[in-house]
Amino acid sequence: MTFPLRAPNLASRVLHGEAIVMNPADSGLFSLNETATAIWLAADGQTPLRTIVESHICPDYEVAFEQALADAEELARDLAQHAILLLLPEPRPNPCP
């Protein structure tokens, strides 16, 4: 199971439902669409990715759970490669601020 967590020290802002994220370490700038933003905002390090998909993606989009989960996993890996999301094997002990 994967517990996604927003990387610390990032700058971010949600504008009209879409997040912009800046990584100060390398000035990498990212724009997330509404779905990615929903996952990003829910990535508190305590909620499993599949729960995020169940509770934040499936109710709002006409998509089968397995397909949504596969897409979310791909997105999470992509964001992790850019160091703006951490994929934890265990939930972190304290909630994300």
Binding site: N9, L10, A11, S12, R13, L15, H16, I20, M22, P24, A25, S27, L29, F30, S31, P97
Partner: protein, 367 residues
């Protein structure tokens, strides 16, 4: 479309102040000869007021935040201000002369997630830099701090404002920046004093010196492209907005006054009296600035440079008319391309004096 362009477009579409610049103080421990500020303490916003303002700005959509001055390290609560801004998710750039930065400051700057740290360096020669700042030893101290901050992995920027005393020192500063592994930027324009006094603009570099800058590949990239004659002005150019000031950008002074830009001192409100969002959305002045399109500028709309000019509406405002030309930018367009601006032609017609070797002298004579 590049991401920044897309973001700016989205911000413009939704009237979002994507970028803001706050001067935390106008107090300063340098006395730069070209400075456009007064250094008296003007009842600065308190830490509590700034925290509240940052909350309001985050809510309004501000993302790119520049904290500047004056000298920001004269505020004893700077680390707390930055910490609150980071908590609210801002992307932060600090501008400082860095004279007061010690190892412990460099540590918190790096650990706090500040993305950019900018310091003005005027010359690689201490006697020139220190004469501009009027602080002996300032070059050495600023460079030491820059190196400390860079060593901690923070993106550092060396900014070089050009004026008569350092007109030909930019290459030396560029080498220093390279050695520090800092980004290098240059600004060849001296801004009038915020009070409107234009005396310091006499420090502007000469046309010959500006030409050298604009013919340097290391500064402008491809010289032929940079200096190419402007493309014909089309309807899109005439419908364009002059710059981001007041559209996606605003400036807030140490006492809470809100302006379209640090170079555009048109008072639009004060956050001590109104909510930031109310000023941004409802100020008559902001809405006036936002309504201006290039086609509304009586002289500039007839100019062949209208589609490519870097016209600063703030400098035009400080010349007396926000719908008018900014002569410093007319000069830049001319030096770049060799083609006089409509404003330059107009002045020549109105003032048929013998041609001067210095265009600025011509402008002054006709004003």
């Amino acid at each position: 479309m590049p991401l920044m362009e897309a973001l700016n477009r989205r911000a413009l579409e939704h009237n979002i102040p994507l970028s803001a610049h706050i001067d935390l103080t106008w107090r300063c421990n340098e006395r730069c000869i070209h400075c456009y500020l007064d250094h008296d303490d003007p009842a600065e916003l308190s830490l509590a007021e700034l925290r509240d303002l940052l909350d309001q700005m985050a809510e309004a959509g501000v993302f790119f935040l520049t904290l500047s001055g004056g000298e920001i390290f004269l505020r004893k609560d700077l680390a707390e201000i930055v910490a609150h801004a980071r908590l609210r998710g801002f992307d932060i750039k600090l501008k400082s002369n860095a004279l007061l930065v010690r190892e412990a400051d460099a540590d918190w700057i790096a650990s706090s997630g500040v993305r950019q740290f900018q310091v003005s360096i005027y010359s690689h020669r201490a006697e020139v830099h220190d004469a501009i700042t009027k602080v002996p030893g300032s070059l050495e101290r600023s460079l030491k701090a820059l190196r400390m901050i860079r060593a901690r992995g923070v993106h550092t920027i060396v900014a070089c404002v050009l004026m008569k005393p350092n007109a030909r020192d930019w290459a030396g500063v560029q080498n220093l920046a390279r050695e520090i592994e800092a980004e290098f930027t240059i600004d060849p324009t001296i801004t009038p004093h915020i009070s409107g006094d234009r005396a310091i603009t006499a420090l502007n570099i000469s046309r010959a010196e500006l030409t050298e800058v604009f013919r340097s590949e290391s500064l402008v990239g491809n010289i032929a492209d940079f200096c190419a004659a402007p493309a014909p002005v089309d309807e899109d150019a005439l419908d364009s907005t002059p710059c981001s000031a007041g559209h996606t950008l605003c400036f807030i002074s140490p006492k809470g006054e809100v302006y379209p830009c640090v170079q555009f001192p048109l008072p639009c409100g004060n956050v001590r009296q109104q909510r930031f969002a109310d000023i941004w959305n409802r100020s008559k002045q902001f809405n006036q600035v936002r309504a201006i399109r290039t086609r509304d500028l009586p002289v500039c709309s007839t100019c062949g440079h209208a589609g490519s000019c870097t016209r600063c509406p703030g400098l035009a405002f400080m010349e007396g008319n926000m719908y008018g030309p900014s002569t410093a930018d007319c000069e830049k367009s001319y030096v770049r391309t060799g083609i006089p601006s409509a404003n330059m032609r107009l002045i020549q017609i109105m003032s048929p004096a013998p041609p001067s070797s210095d265009y600025r002298a011509t402008i002054k004579a006709s004003c």
